[in-house]
Structure formats: C-alpha cells, structure tokens
Symmetry: C4
Subunit: 197 residues, 4 copies
C-alpha cells in the first residue's frame, strides 16, 4: 500500500476529531453574556485539544514524507495513534464538564501521554523498517523534543494531582513547545532531494 492512502484516511480521521469536539461543547442555556462566560473554559479546553490535534496532523505529515511504503506494522501503529487521538474529545468533554476536577485533568494528561507513546511507537516502527541509517532516523537526529515530551506530560500529571490548573499549565507549555516550527524533515528533504509525492 502506498502512503497516500494511509495519509488520506488519517487526514479524514484527524479532520473529524478536530471538528466534532465542538459538538461536545454545551451550548449555553441562557441568553446572557454570563451564560456565555460559563462556556468559556469549554472553549479554552477545545482550543487546547484543537492545537494538539493540529500538531499531530502537522508532525504526522512531515514524518510520512519520508516513508515510501506502508507495512502491516506501520498501518496498525498508525491506527493505534488515531485511536488514542480519538479519545481526546471524550477526555476533553469530561475535564470541561467536571470543572477541572483532579481526576479528569489527570486523565486528560494520561490521554496526551498515550498519544505521545503511540506516536513514538509509530515512529520507531518506521525507523525499524528503514534500517539504522534510514531517512527518518537521520532526519530526526537526537529528537530531543519528542524524547522530553512524555516526561513533561508525566510532570503535568503529577502537577495536576496537586493543583489541577498546574497540570493544565504544563500541558499548555508542551503544546507551545511544539508550535515552534520544526525544520528537520524539511532540511533533510532539501538536502537529500526526496521527491514530494
């Protein structure tokens, strides 16, 4: 199977995940500004999850620019990543509806951690397929950001156990860290003349 198929399917799933979260937002029950403000935290958590799915979509595509063919292992680790990401609307809604109680905020962090682990498994599966000096491994290099993120999620989960808002703050910091553009794959493509499909 060529990667275009798998990328189109992943794009579809990610586009749905990023959009249906708005269906989970509870429309305010009254007509006043005060009612709208009651939905404000819901909007902010939606924004946070939106940014996370956007980051994964972005990284996913950069990564697959360096993949030539899909194996069974890549296919199923990709579905594993999509499954973890598809839980975000669920954990986001719970966190919002329970007004940022400890357990939901911890659960949201665990969900983010699961996504990071699933992404790491997908990346490792691809690197394993390409061999030690494969395109992806070479392009990513030491891959500090990916290697530190899970630990910061863990820190966020621990922080949330103390004060839920501390957890949210730490999850937001990881998102901001990933918003900074990452040029490694682009640089590798420019240097090695990888054909864009």
């Amino acid at each position: 199977m060529k990667t275009s198929r798998l990328e189109a399917f992943s794009d579809g799933v990610l586009a749905i995940i990023i959009t249906i979260m708005v269906l989970e937002l509870r429309v305010p029950q009254g007509p006043t500004l005060h009612d709208l403000l009651g939905a404000a935290t819901g909007l902010l958590t939606y924004l946070l999850s939106f940014v996370y799915v956007g980051i994964y979509w972005n990284n996913h595509h950069h990564m697959f620019q360096l993949v030539a063919r899909v194996t069974g292992g890549i296919l199923w680790s990709n579905l594993g990543l999509l499954f973890c990401l598809s839980l975000l609307p669920f954990t986001t809604a719970w966190m919002d509806e329970q007004a940022f109680a400890t357990t939901p905020v911890v659960t949201y962090g665990v969900n983010l951690l699961l996504c990071a682990i699933a992404y790491f498994i997908l990346q490792t599966t691809i690197e394993h397929n390409q061999g030690r000096d494969g395109a992806l491994a070479t392009a990513l290099g030491r891959d500090l950001k990916a290697k530190t993120s899970p630990w910061i999620y863990l820190l966020g989960i621990l922080g949330a156990l103390l004060v839920p808002w501390l957890g949210i703050a730490i999850y937001t910091i990881v998102a901001l860290m990933w918003l900074v553009p990452d040029r490694r794959v682009e640089r590798y493509i420019a240097a090695h003349n990888v054909a864009d499909d």
Copy 2:
C-alpha cells in the same frame, strides 16, 4: 509541504463543519406543521452559516491556487481560520436556541468577525511570503471587499445591540456581497498561465 495536503485537510474540516450544523438543529417535538415552523428560524440560521462556510471554502481554494508551498506560518494561520470557522456551529446553535436574543446575535457577529480577521491574517501571511509583487497580492489588487467586510460586521454587531434582527440583516448582506462571483484570481491565472495542480 505541498498545498494539496493542506487543502485536502481544510476541505475535510470545512465539509464536516458545514454538515454537522444540521445535527444541532432540534428535531421538532410534535408532528404538526406548527411544530415544523417552530424549527424554521433554526433552518434559516443554518442556511446562513452554510452559505458563510461555502463562501470561505470557495475563497480558500481560489487563494491557494496561487500558493506554491506551505510554511509553518501559513499552516498555523490556516488552522487558526479553521478554528474560528469551527465555532460557527456553536454560535449558530446558541443564537437559534435563544430565539435571537441580543447577546447570542452579537456573539455570532463576533464569530463572523473573527473568521474574517483569521482569513485576513492567513492572506497577509501568504502575501508576506511571496513578497510585494507576489502572485496573490497582484491578483487581489486593492481587495475592497475583504477590507470593507470587517467594518460591516462591526456595523452588524452594533446594529444587533439595538435590534437583533438588524444585526442578522446586516450579516446576510455581507454574505450576499460575497456570493457575487469574484474573478480576480481566475483572471490572474488566465493572464499569467499559472499551472493548475
């Protein structure tokens, strides 16, 4: 990243936004024509939002015909636009459920204004990337419609503060203004022989 990727993802998100609004429509609770008429305003606001998303989809594609490659800035300002548009089902449902009370109608106008600003940022980011005499800036020229729209939205928001229906009327006028086909990009493509991908 090539634009085809980003366009396909944006298409997916826009297709979902335009369609899920119908899920927010409350199915009438009784079997009579009177019950259906109670849902009529919901249908009309759905139509208005449908037209707006259709306009953005249309303009989005025209614009991206003149974009060759996607940068990090373009990618994130595009996600910013999608986020603003994805709030339309939420503000549409609120406006409808609260029977066009002042605050929800104002909020809907603010949402439209945010979409226009996000679109403007995306457009400016692209023009900035292409340089002063870039394809997009040349094609769009003075771009009167885009420059006046935000001010008409502001007028609509002010109007809604007086009489909600005045706001709705003004938002509808902006939509109609954009329904008139815009041939600038097509003319530029015809004149400059830009390859269609």
Copy 3:
C-alpha cells in the same frame, strides 16, 4: 477551479450526511428484542435515506465526469444541492420520531423534491455552460427518469396526505427506479473517448 476540488468536497459532505444519520437513530432504552423492534422503523427510514444519498452520490459523479471546469454558477448550484441533501438527516429523524405522522412524511417528500429540483438546476447550469450540443446534454438525451421523478415525488406527497405509508411506498419506488444502473454517461464516455481524470 478544476472539478476534482469540487468533487472531493462534495464527496466529503455526502460521506458525512450518509453517516451521521446513524447518530440520529435512538439507541433502544431497554435490553430486549422488543426494544430493538421499536427502533426497526428508524432503521428502515435510515436505509431509505442512505440509498437516496447513495443514488445522488452515484449520479453526481457520473455527471461531473462530463464537466471540464467549474464556474461560479456550477459551484453555487452544487452547494444548493448539498444543502438540500444535508436536510435529509433532519427530516428523516422527524419522520421516524413522530411515528410516520402525516406532516413529517409530507415534509420528507418535500425534502426529496427539493433535492431533485436542486439537482435539476445543477444539471441545467452545466448544460447551459456547455452549450446546446454539449457533452452532458448529448449524453443524457431525453432524460426521462429525471423528468418524471419530481412528478412521482409530488404524487408521493399527495399520497402521504391520504395515508402516510402510501407516501413512503411511492418514495421507495422512486429510489428503486434509480437503483437500476444508468449507462448513458458511461456509453457517451466509451463512444466519445472522454479522458477520465
């Protein structure tokens, strides 16, 4: 704009319409077979709407195989068709929840009629663009099925005013009539060697 763009967007919207109807199906409230049978009519109306959207998707693609470029008129009459089709989940759910009362069944028929009219407008817009001896007009010929369908819908609406189930039966007959494969476009393509994109 090339048709591939418009077809991909229409595909997305149609895929969502055809699938979200299942979200409107009420999950039975009890665990028995009797509870499931209470949802049986819901399943049958879902099946009917599913077949209708499938038919439109099928015809839409056949038609667009003979369209070379999209104009503003085609774009907006296509969005008009998508809007009418997007109301099907709403009218289907109403018909089902009100246990096939007269008004909802009539409304469903009106929705089907609106879709047929919107499709006719789209087709006429394309034919008008291509001129009298254009590919589409030649391929469709007398186009009996399309010309009789609206009248059968009208008959169904009148029938539903007498006995709702008569309306449903007539709507089903139109669907079956369209299930019979239509080879006109395929024959035209074979005869005229139209390049598949």
Copy 4:
C-alpha cells in the same frame, strides 16, 4: 468510474464511522476515578469496533488494488457494506448502554455477521466481473479466513445466548485473527507487477 473515486468515498465514510463512535461514549457524570471506571466497558467496546472498522478499511483497500473499474454491481454492493458497517456505532452503543445484556450482544454479533456477508457479496461481485482466473480470485486463493469467519460469528452469537461475555470473547478472537497481516494481495502484486494507482 475509476476505483479512486469509490475508494475515496469509502475512506470518508469509514473515517467517520470509526470516529463518531466516540461521540456515543457517555462522558462520566461525576469527577472520580470510579465514574471513569463506569465508562471503561464503553471504552473497550469502542476499541473492539474501532479495530473491526480498521480491519475492514485495511482489507477493502487491499482488495481494490486488484480492481480496475467499478461497475454498478460493485458500487451498490460496496454501499451495502458501508451501510452494515455504519450500523456498528448503533449496536456498539446499545450493547454498552445495556451493560452487555444478552440481546444487545447477540445483535452486535449479527451486525458483525452482516458486515462479513456484505463483504463476501462485494468480493464475489468483483470476482464474478473479473472471471474465473481474475486477479482477485487468484490472489485470494482458498481464502480460508474469510470463509471461516462467518461461522465463528455464528458460534459467537450462540455463545452470547448462553453467556454474553462468551460472545464478546469470540468476537474478539475473530478480530485478533484478522489482525495477523495477510500478504496474499501484496504477494500477488509483487508477482504480477500490478501497477499501483
């Protein structure tokens, strides 16, 4: 019609089915770990259905790599398969909400069986079109897994009539059986040099 059209539409529908199931998951009503555990079975059934849709998506694409053109019969048996799969969110939600009562678990098994039959009809329609020594029939060979699956579903349905969890266990075994990668189509492609589109 070329297969790319049909595959893109099927991808869209499958991406929506696999994702909207998460919307049916009930967000826990309280903020404690105990509330989350109450949703655990919902998560597990979601996972099972997710894996099933993933398997169908995977097999669907492998199969269509050996299909050159779509006929009316293939188109409608494909829509039949999509319809059966689109019922999975409904039967999954019912099974979960009724705490794995006998009838819902049996119904879920019947749904899986219907999907398998619809897939078999689609495959047979394609093989019939390609003739006895067609690409698909040759690639699939004796096709043991597909031929035994329906019987195991039947076994699962019978098992569920005794003890619901036995049914779930058997449905899970079929899923695991299909997770093992199937290289027949890939081997055929490698051996016969079928051009990837």
